[in-house]
């Protein structure tokens, strides 16, 4: 019992302190503390209660646009991660020419989203396709490099160990390389969930028919600040939720990992 208490008290504080801090922050914001600190006018930054009202008033519109953007982000994330993973596998299995694929991906990745979005709009039109394409580009590099590291950064002698059993290349891949890369794959997914949402939203800024980024930019243009902040809030919640889901998968899949001790 005593031990249990010792274990849970710091854990409880770990949860409680951020919540308390969050509440305090919202309170200060509500009471115009942030405006005072940053020298902002009231119309420049709505207070939490105004944002909450905008959230409630525009529920349907917010939800449908959130779904639109999340779909772009998730589809792009999945396609991009698959391409990235496939490239990493090729670079591992055929090191001679497969590594070239990684170089190509890193070149793509070096193009900023701001430059990529108009190009993709031009190629794939103003609908979802162009946004998905941007997300694919951002997600594939993160996956390719992390997965490649996981498939190739092996413990010393582990390849020798497999060689001593006369293991086939196939067995080395499935019994050693692939499981060794799981933590890196999850890291890549964690990075990409966040960046996918950003990529999708930023792409919608340029030209779109719908989505969080599109509506956000409209709301800003028409000075509907509480609505704009409602969209920002929705984007943040989705980002956190996706990150949380991947973290949950990670805790479950990496029971064996030192970091889970």
């Amino acid at each position: 019992m005593n031990v249990m208490k010792k274990m849970t008290l710091p854990k409880l504080l770990n949860i409680l302190l951020p919540i308390l801090f969050g509440i305090l922050f919202l309170y200060v914001w509500e009471k115009n503390g942030l405006h005072y600190l940053m020298g902002l006018k009231k119309y420049q930054l709505p207070v939490p209660s105004q944002i909450a009202k905008a959230l409630a008033d525009n529920k349907t519109q917010l939800l449908s646009n959130a779904r639109y953007t999340t779909a772009e982000a998730l589809i792009g994330l999945i396609i991009g991660s698959l391409i990235g993973f496939f490239t990493a596998v090729m670079a591992t299995v055929f090191p001679k020419w497969g590594y070239g694929g990684l170089t190509v991906l890193s070149a793509f990745n070096a193009v900023p989203i701001v430059a990529l979005s108009p190009v993709m709009n031009n190629w794939f039109g103003m609908g979802m396709g162009s946004k998905i394409a941007v997300v694919v580009v951002t997600a594939m590099a993160a996956m390719a490099f992390n997965a490649y590291r996981g498939l190739n950064d092996l413990k010393p002698f582990s390849l020798d160990l497999m060689a001593s059993y006369a293991a086939t290349r196939r067995e080395v891949f499935f019994l050693l390389r692939l499981p060794n890369s799981i933590p890196n794959i999850l890291t890549a997914l964690k990075i990409s969930t966040t960046s996918s949402m950003i990529a999708a939203i930023v792409s919608e800024f340029f030209a779109s028919y719908a989505g969080i980024g599109f509506e956000l930019s409209n709301a800003l243009k028409t000075a509907k600040m509480p609505l704009a902040w409602a969209y920002i809030t929705v984007a943040a919640i989705i980002g956190i939720a996706l990150h949380f889901i991947v973290s949950l998968v990670e805790t479950y899949a990496l029971k064996w990992h030192v970091s889970q001790k």
Partner: protein, 255 residues
């Protein structure tokens, strides 16, 4: 005399990375009989690991010949006749202890029932039955090394190559495992090449001790250990035992 199980003939090994070259082995020849327990003994850097890796076909010698079971080390490796214990345990972090021991058995397609039987008895042998379902990071370094030994024994290899398997262990565990390994070996009649830098350990375990000297790695003496078997703890106090230890120690001073 029969043809030796392992024949090492004039083997030399020169490592060269970017210009600099290190002569790790210089013209080493050893014949090892089937069922023999041989130790490679010598100070750090004298080429023990290098020679072991050459025998196990994990490294190609610069010159010289190695025959194992009347064939090349490559063929012997492809026949899955080697069990190797490396200097570090090399456990797969994502596998539990029992699944780590299962790894080679899966690769060699040993029937599941038989896998379970061997894993259970080996865990018992290395005193880790309670840790079967633990992950490697939950074990101490010495415990991990014991898993590595159990894993090598699991495949009941024709030839067991061990690279300082006990160097990370405390004296108590080391001496106990010395006896355990000898006991398993006496039952199976396998050929063992055992690398160590501990003189007493090499005397206790071996039929013969190959003493290597460094820079470059040369075979400086082969000492017959004519102590009776089975070896027991008490023998460590015998005058004959200590005489052999002294003899080997002196052979180093001559270097």
């Amino acid at each position: 005399m029969n043809t030796p199980e392992i024949r090492i003939e004039n083997v030399s090994m020169v490592y060269s990375d970017n210009g600099a070259s290190v002569k790790a082995l210089d013209n080493v020849s050893i014949d090892i009989q089937k069922g023999e327990f041989i130790s490679l003994l010598g100070p750090s850097g004298c080429g023990k690991t290098t020679l072991l890796r050459i025998i196990g076909d994990l490294l190609q010698p610069t010159s010289g010949n190695v025959l194992v079971c009347d064939q090349t080390p490559r063929q012997t490796r492809m026949d899955q006749k080697y069990g190797i214990v490396f200097q570090s345990p090399v456990l797969f972090d994502w596998r539990t202890i029992s699944k780590n021991i299962r790894l080679p058995l899966e690769i060699m397609k040993v029937p599941r029932e038989e896998q379970n039987r061997r894993i259970e008895s080996l865990l018992e042998l290395v005193g880790l039955s309670k840790f079967a379902d633990h992950y490697p990071h939950q074990l101490s370094g010495g415990m991990q090394q014991r898993v590595g030994i159990a894993r090598a024994l699991a495949i009941q290899p024709e030839i067991l190559l061990m690279d300082e398997p006990f160097s990370a262990l405390d004296e108590f565990t080391r001496e106990k495992l010395n006896e355990d390994v000898l006991q398993i070996w006496s039952k199976t009649n396998k050929t063992v090449v055992f690398v160590t830098h501990n003189i007493a350990e090499s005397v206790f375990m071996s039929d013969r001790v190959c003493v290597l000297s460094p820079h470059p790695g040369r075979l400086s003496a082969i000492v017959d250990i004519d102590l009776p078997r089975p070896r027991t703890k008490e023998m460590r106090d015998w005058p004959e035992f200590n005489a052999l230890v002294a003899k080997i120690r002196n052979s180093f001073e001559g270097v």
